[in-house]
């Protein structure tokens, strides 16, 4: 028996707004991220994941204000990411109220950062974010390449090898986004989830394209410990109690929703 499947709300933030991108291109403003966070918490979401979408552009993560506010009335785990480049950057978001830090670009450029963060704050704080893009969209056997800068730059690294190396360096979790599916609600990249889950023993968070409880069920069966959802929740395609009810009815263990 493993832990219950965690449902994570992914909140992409630009300045003070919750935004939603489609395959990392074109952002739409959706509102105040705090209102969304509070609503999801009350509905029974298991975790929140905040991503500063323009942090790399400005050279710094701007989530502190949002994190300090949300920790006053939301009492579930919070991960922050976007533009984190050093142990000091991670320390800043943790101090502001995040429990974990997600790192992509800086880890690709300098993998040792994973070890430094794990040593300073523990592996459980170090979430490696991988943006995976198929080398050949039609042929999963060709594998996936790790991208950065919101899916625009390619690293040349093979996703499976990178996931394995990151685990060895001390990553505690992997946030795995299938870039091809991001924001299009066309279903998660199942081959990708399965391949990474069998490559590492640390928990894998499947992200990018979840469109219904069936996708979440698939992710759980393929070995994912959690699923991160953006569009599905933000556009109110589903409520959290409804998703959890459908998961439980189909034999996927979830944390029951309680009136918060």
């Amino acid at each position: 028996m493993s832990a219950a499947l965690r449902l994570i709300a992914r909140l992409d933030v630009k300045d003070r707004y919750l935004v939603k991108g489609i395959q990392y291109e074109g952002l739409r403003k959706l509102g105040d991220p705090h209102d969304f966070a509070l609503d999801y918490y009350r509905q029974g979401i298991d975790e929140l994941f905040y991503l500063d979408t323009v942090a790399s552009l400005y050279g710094r993560n701007n989530l502190s204000g949002i994190l300090e506010r949300v920790t006053r009335d939301v009492f579930i785990p919070i991960t922050a990411g976007g533009g984190l480049r050093s142990v000091e950057d991670v320390g800043t978001v943790l101090k502001a109220g995040a429990d974990k830090a997600a790192i992509n670009t800086a880890a690709l450029l300098r993998p040792q950062l994973i070890s430094e963060v794990a040593r300073a704050f523990g592996s459980q704080c170090m979430v490696l974010s991988i943006q995976a893009k198929r080398r050949d969209p039609l042929n999963p056997a060709a594998g996936w390449e790790a991208y950065y800068d919101n899916g625009r730059e390619h690293s040349g690294r093979d996703v499976l090898g990178w996931a394995r190396e990151a685990q060895q360096l001390g990553a505690g979790e992997i946030l795995l986004t299938g870039v091809d599916r991001e924001g299009v609600r066309r279903g998660l990249d199942q081959e990708l989830i399965q391949a990474v889950c069998s490559e590492v023993t640390i928990p894998v968070i499947a992200a990018g394209g979840a469109s219904n409880s069936g996708d979440l069920m698939q992710a759980a069966r393929l070995g994912a410990g959690a699923v991160a959802m953006g569009s599905l929740l933000h556009y109110k395609q589903a409520t959290i109690p409804q998703l959890k009810k459908e998961l439980a009815e189909n034999g996927v263990e979830v944390r029951p929703c309680i009136q918060q």
């Binding site: 028996m1 493993s2 832990a3 219950a4 965690r6 918490y41 029974g44 298991d46 300090e68 920790t71 006053r72 009335d73 009492f75 579930i76 785990p77 943790l94 101090k95 502001a96 109220g97 995040a98 429990d99 040593r119 300073a120 704050f121 523990g122 592996s123 459980q124 704080c125 505690g172 979790e173 023993t201 640390i202 928990p203 410990g225 959690a226 944390r255 029951p256 309680i258 009136q259 918060q260």
Partner: protein
Amino acid sequence: MHPTVTIVDYGRSNLLSVQRALEYCGAIVEYASTSEQVAAAGALVLPGVGAFADGMNLLRESGLARAVCTRARQGVPLLGICLGMQFLFDSSSEGGITPGLGLLPGTVEAIPGHTTQGQPLRVPHIGWAPLYPAQQREGFSGSTLEAIPTKSQVYFVHGYRAMPARQADRLADTLYGGHRICAAVQRGNITGVQFHPEKSGEVGLAILRTFLGSCPA
């Protein structure tokens, strides 16, 4: 009216979440980074994230370790959270054998990397899991967990588990990979929780409120 609690600050943990949750539950929160401040506290919370050896070294060098033990033995309510619960025991095998505070007999060991069926098990254990009464316990009545129903789910993040030497100290367990993992311990005024009540939604807040009920106003 408001209970006052003192969070032991040894310079490592994410204290803000614990502070915010305690304040939300009506507490006045103070910090102690010196042994004098600990000695003056009416109730103590010992948080913890990170590595056992590192944390214990900081506690010992600052004199906080001895002060916390003294205050706990004087009967002041003490709540250890996550690594803070592991500190309560005699020693941990994380990063070599490192002595703990020794307030409760027992050790801290790595969570096995396999299930009881021999399948690979993902470690660290991260996620929500239910609380069961420890063996030989009926339920949670009369304990810091008394406000919550059994099987309530709480949030865990840990790679090591406490192995209390005395079954009577063991309050709650969770199951991971078929293993019974010690989730909470209590002996008198000393409580330890392996999970994060400050990150466990309403269930966690209910536990904190019970703890605060034992703290002086």
